[in-house]
Amino acid sequence: MKELRRNMRRVGYLVLALFIGAGVWFGYTVYTQGDAWASTAYNPRLAHTNSQRGDILDRDGVVLATTNAQGERAYLADEAARRALSQTVGDTAGMSGSGVENFFSATLLDLSTSLTDRLVELFNNARHVGSSLQLTVDAQLQAGIARLFPEGYSGAVCVTNYKTGEILAMVSLPNYDPYAANAAGEGVADTAYLNRCLQGLYTPGSVFKIVTLACALDYDPAVVQQRFTCSGVWEYEGGSINCMSGRTSHGEIGLQTAFAQSCNVTFGKLAYQLGLDRLRATAEKFGFNENFKFGDFMIYNSSFPTGVRNMNGLVWAGIGQGEVLVTPLHMAMISGAVANGGAMMQPYLVKKVETSLGQVTRRGESRVYRQVMSADAAQTVAKYMYGAVKSGTAKRAAISGYTVCGKTGSAETSNDKNVATNAWYTGFVYDDAHPFAVSVVVEQGGAGSQLASELASKALKLAIECVN
């Protein structure tokens, strides 16, 4: 009997521990994720709730979404502008999952108001109106960039303020009309719901050379003096790398010119010189392989290969090919960090949350995400990027009267040489009044020096004009 009691006591402790564990888990998950659960589009309560959704405004107060007198959700009147903002604002059907309408449902409906507030409303018999959200996005800029985007191409343009982290525009094409969004998938291409700035994982190609360069500067500042030889092709054990399909050879070349001309051979050699561990350490400092948790939206994680152990993988990773993947917003964060003296700002989308009674419950705050490189290194990278715009591959990105720095990329996405490369550009304006970073992807847009650079220049010009 004594043993029996002892065993029972043990089992009792076990069951007790399980129950406590279950209670803690339950309480913790509801406390931390309850609002997110409640605010999914799959919660039918949201459609039937008595509470009325709050408005969504842009940074200048332009109403992007509101609830009209009939109780229906209304978006911008101009169709082109409405479509340009579709994935950012979202839709009531919840098709664009990271859209504000979906991601901030709980706030827009104010499901999380306090008990006392709810009781007061109950007694006053008032219809509950949720909070309104002011975004950091400029509607005019976003619609303008969508208009400038080359006809017939897909892709993304992301404009941010690199000093504050505000997202000024997230253009993603193709886009859709939020009025036509439906779960049945009629009339709208599935990929149109995707916000490519946040959820498009692209091979960066040569824009990744910014990271490779930062890595080299970090480990050996004297690398700027080093000379490299480019004969158009570099054949090494287990593979080869070439510049523009081997048609050009850059000859004996310094690092700055190699960066401006986007010499693959030089940067392949540089990556080999650095080694995978160093390159990966720097990439991870820049946010690759990191589980991004920015509170305002859901962004996919960029990745840098961790398992590669051969030389081929290393050399190709150094020029942003192979298994390197990045989102356009992350790329804008990277060039923004170069402009901001190495301090990468945490991007944010919500400028202000205001209850229906006019009480501001939340303000977007500028936060340094991480110091990704030294101010000196950032200065050098910026100088190199300036060189690329001044006399290199990114000439078309120049804006007269402004100091523009940038880097182009032509990312190969297929072994088939007939498939055009994805055109990339990322860069920024060195200007205290207009601290804007940009990243552009034109899918199958050919070389980055053409369409992408031009578009970036136009986008930044527009941003300088209309963002205040």
């Binding site: 029996l4 406390y31 409640a38 008990l115 779960a183």
Partner: protein, 430 residues
Amino acid sequence: MRKAERMRRALMRTNTRLLLTSVVIFQVLALGLLALRPDNESPFPLILLIAVPLTTLLVANLMGSIWPVDRAILILVLFLCSVGIITLSAVCPSEDTPRSQAIFAAAGVFALFAGVLFMRGWTSWRRFAVPLAALCLLALASPWAIGEWHDGARNWIVLIRNKMTVQPSEFMKPVLILVLAAGFCNRPRFERCLPPIAFAALCCGILLSERDLGAVLLYFLTTVLMYYAASSNALLCGAGLAMGAGAAVIAYEALPYVQNRVACWQNPWADPQNGGYQIVRALAAIGSGGMFGAGLGLGMPRNVPLYHSDFIFTSVAEEFGLIFSLGLMAVYVLIILRGLIVAMNARTSFHSLTAFGLVAIFGLQALLIIGGNTKMLPLTGVTLPLVSYGGSSLVSTFFSMGLLLGISSLNAEDEATDIERVALKEEVGL
């Protein structure tokens, strides 16, 4: 009244008046709220408002004065049952469901008394173990002869078509525990334990053939725990658990139905419209309830499939909120702890094992379904004991609790006799 009898009564009177009062206040407030709903036109909530607190008071006092049972367990059991009736009244579209539940609860109260009587009267457990085991197997196999399929499992038998269906796996839970306790008592050697183990394995096999996976899991885990308590053979029990885990892996590989369940549990958001539908809806309900709940009758728990049976915990969480749901879990813990004390105080290993088994199956069942509702465990279709809608489960759980209370009353009487004996010795001057 004889002196000894008075002393016995005094010893039994734990101070549970405060507990009983708060339970009755809760019932009156909640049912009053439902009766006062502006859209309410029927007299049914009013009837409940009178009947439920009265029944609670009556049963708690009556049973407590007839036998020296553990009143805390009794009151908490009645509380859980009333939470079930109140939640069903608040969330169900028609009165039929809460009305049937109230009728089942009334039958359950009789089962409770029957359980106490049975436990107190049953002294020759050895002789009846074999016939009981045979009865259990027959009952479990009966759905194959006169059963029907419900939600992908064939575990119901039809007594009167469209009127009365019964779930034998529910009613056989106390029988399984009695048989196992009779087989495992008095520290038998391993060979002597083999027949009861084979019997339990046979039960699991039958249930498996009816695809009642929740019941299989409960029967299996309860058997292992009871064998561990009886034999202290942790190694063998570990092996048993490993075997069970192996069987689960095989089931996972072989049955796409099980694979589906696990995938939906791991990431319900991957397929929120089909596979993950239940759990996504359940989480949305829990999240909408928040800390303090939507308010009784104000939420929309009917968006969750099986909101009245398998997912009643999410209905409670949505209507009453997180704090109350955690409180509900605490009530289960209290019943389990009091039940374990009953098991440890029992005078014979048979009674001790029976009480232990009853508590174990009760606790495991609550844990499985609460974990399933909150995405902690993959969902298994078992009821939340005493709260979920369902006659078989309610009546059978009441009977099990009656057995537990019966054991507690025997313990109390034994203790009183002991004390009396000591006092007598002192008087005689020994």
